[in-house]
């Protein structure tokens, strides 16, 4: 019947509106659980999420060794030319020439944090770091060299 549906409509509408108002009213009156991060003040206690992607870094161990073989898989995987791998040839103790990286140049200003380079890396040499304070006064500071000076490749990484 038409009238019955009409009244049912009104009843349902009012009920749903009241449910909504009740929910937001609850949040308004229970003003304890705050999700706002007061950023510069809480820098000491700030916890970034695991999955947050801030920039690409190359972890080094205590002996200043990294795992990068210089295979340029990351450079090929990058969609917008963020990573440039500069290689050199090293002569090891047995007199054999071996390819190694000289510099791994990373342009932070071009990076979209898409994570494709990390996925592409066969030896897990690079990863995403949760840093986010990237603002600098000079744009050239955003071009970074990921491997530390004087670092060399870890033993056993091919």
């Amino acid at each position: 019947m038409f009238l019955k549906d009409y009244i049912k409509d009104i009843y349902g509408a009012i009920k749903s509106l009241l449910v909504g108002l009740n929910r937001t009213g609850y949040y308004f009156t229970h003003h304890k659980e705050i999700i706002t991060e007061q950023y510069p003040d809480n820098r000491a206690t700030l916890v970034m999420a695991e999955r947050f992607k801030g920039e690409v870094v190359m972890p080094h161990d205590a002996n200043n060794e990294h795992r990068c073989t210089g295979c340029t898989a990351c450079e090929l995987a990058c969609p917008n030319g963020t990573i440039k791998v500069v290689t050199k040839f090293e002569v090891n103790a047995e007199g054999k020439k071996k390819k190694a990286i000289d510099k791994l140049v990373y342009h932070l200003e071009l990076c979209t944090m898409c994570n494709l380079c990390v996925v592409a890396c066969p030896s897990d040499a690079i990863k995403m770091a949760p840093t986010f304070e990237h603002s600098v006064y000079d744009r050239s500071l955003l071009t970074k060299i990921l491997n530390n000076p004087g670092s060399k490749i870890m033993e056993g990484v091919e």
Partner: protein
């Protein structure tokens, strides 16, 4: 005990003892105008801050807390920002109407202040059609929106203006009928008479269920009339960028913004006057001792308390409900609110004739 009407009358006595009548009148008009403009400024600052705070609290955030102590100077900073911004006029716009539109919005908001009773015996103009005057003059508001939309020479502005025109014109009906259902009980459109008739209880309590129904309808209709969410189709950000004030910037935008908040204040003041007794303290029938205690609270505090409660209600709506689609909006008005408010008016008339109200 201080009261606004005593201050006003002492100023009037002092002026009339010092100057001749014409100059007294001129000075009083100037004082009234300046205090209205001051009230506008204060309302703009307070309501913007209140809106941001309410929004933040409802969304479990903190809200502005950086400018000044507890963020109290945030709206000052906003005002300064808007004042120093460049006011642009788009190419191909009708410059005269484009610049005129925000001022019309502002002037209408000022005219609407006239019949509002802020405290006991404290009212600018107690004309005998007070409530009708408010609903009449507030309909000029739509013209400024249409003007802004057309003269911006922008399709988003034009669409926003057309939507807002359709919306305001249709929701005016049910707001008017909701007001009428209380006017039927009081038998007068004069604001002072309506308030006096609530000396033994507010209409929302005295008028049984129909009064509550018309109060609900009134709140929905005025939310739509002031173009606030969930009825903010006129400036729907996701579809129309900003609707009729897409092209406005700087001070001209600030005038639109301010007039929106002042309009919210005015409709809430009218709602408080009609349903909740304006400055009349909370009285229960003829329980003299209780009424006497309530009278100790100044009438202006009662008025502003009720008004800000209703403003909070409207803000609560805004941060709870999602926006309606245009066809849902018009369905709500023409299929639900209007028939219900007509039926409600009929019931209310019967109650008034039979004398069933308290």
């Amino acid at each position: 005990m201080w009261s606004l009407s005593k201050i006003a009358s002492s100023i009037h006595e002092w002026l009339s003892s010092t100057f001749n009548p014409t100059i007294t009148q001129v000075i009083e008009m100037v004082i009234a105008g300046v205090s209205i403009i001051g009230l506008f400024a204060v309302l703009g600052l307070v309501l913007v801050l209140m809106e941001r705070r309410v929004a933040a609290w409802i969304q479990i955030r903190l809200g502005p807390n950086r400018v000044g102590p507890l963020g109290l100077l945030q709206s000052m900073a906003d005002t300064v920002k808007l004042l120093v911004k460049e006011g642009l006029t788009p190419n191909g716009a009708d410059k005269f109407l484009f610049n005129l539109a925000p001022f019309i919005a502002m002037i209408v908001a000022m005219l609407l202040m006239a019949p509002i009773a802020f405290a006991k015996d404290f009212q600018l103009w107690d004309l005998n059609i007070g409530v009708l005057y408010v609903s009449a003059v507030s309909s000029i508001m739509v013209i400024s929106i249409l003007m802004a939309g057309w003269s911006s020479n922008n399709k988003y502005s034009l669409m926003g203006a057309m939507r807002s025109g359709a919306q305001i014109v249709s929701y005016e009906l049910s707001a008017g009928l909701a007001i009428l259902s209380i006017v039927v009980l009081t038998g007068s459109l004069q604001v002072s008479t309506i308030i006096q008739s609530q000396a033994d209880g507010w209409w929302i309590f005295k008028g049984h269920i129909p009064a509550i129904v018309s109060f609900v309808i009134f709140m929905i209709a005025v939310t739509a009339e002031t173009n606030r969410a969930p009825f903010d189709l006129a400036e729907a950000e996701s579809e129309l960028t900003a609707g009729f004030h897409t092209e406005y910037s700087g001070m001209k935008f600030a005038l639109f913004f301010l007039s929106e908040y002042v309009n919210v204040f005015i409709v809430c003041a009218i709602g408080a006057t009609i349903f909740l007794g304006g400055w009349m303290p909370f009285h229960i029938g003829h329980w003299e001792s209780f009424n006497h205690i309530m009278d100790y609270i100044p009438s202006s505090i009662w008025f502003f308390g009720k008004t800000f409660m209703l403003i909070f209600l409207i803000m609560w709506f805004r941060w709870t409900f999602p926006r309606l689609r245009i066809d849902q909006l018009l369905n709500l008005e023409w299929k639900y609110l209007l028939p219900i408010s007509m039926l409600n008016l009929l019931i209310m008339t019967a109650i008034a004739i039979l004398g069933w109200h308290f």
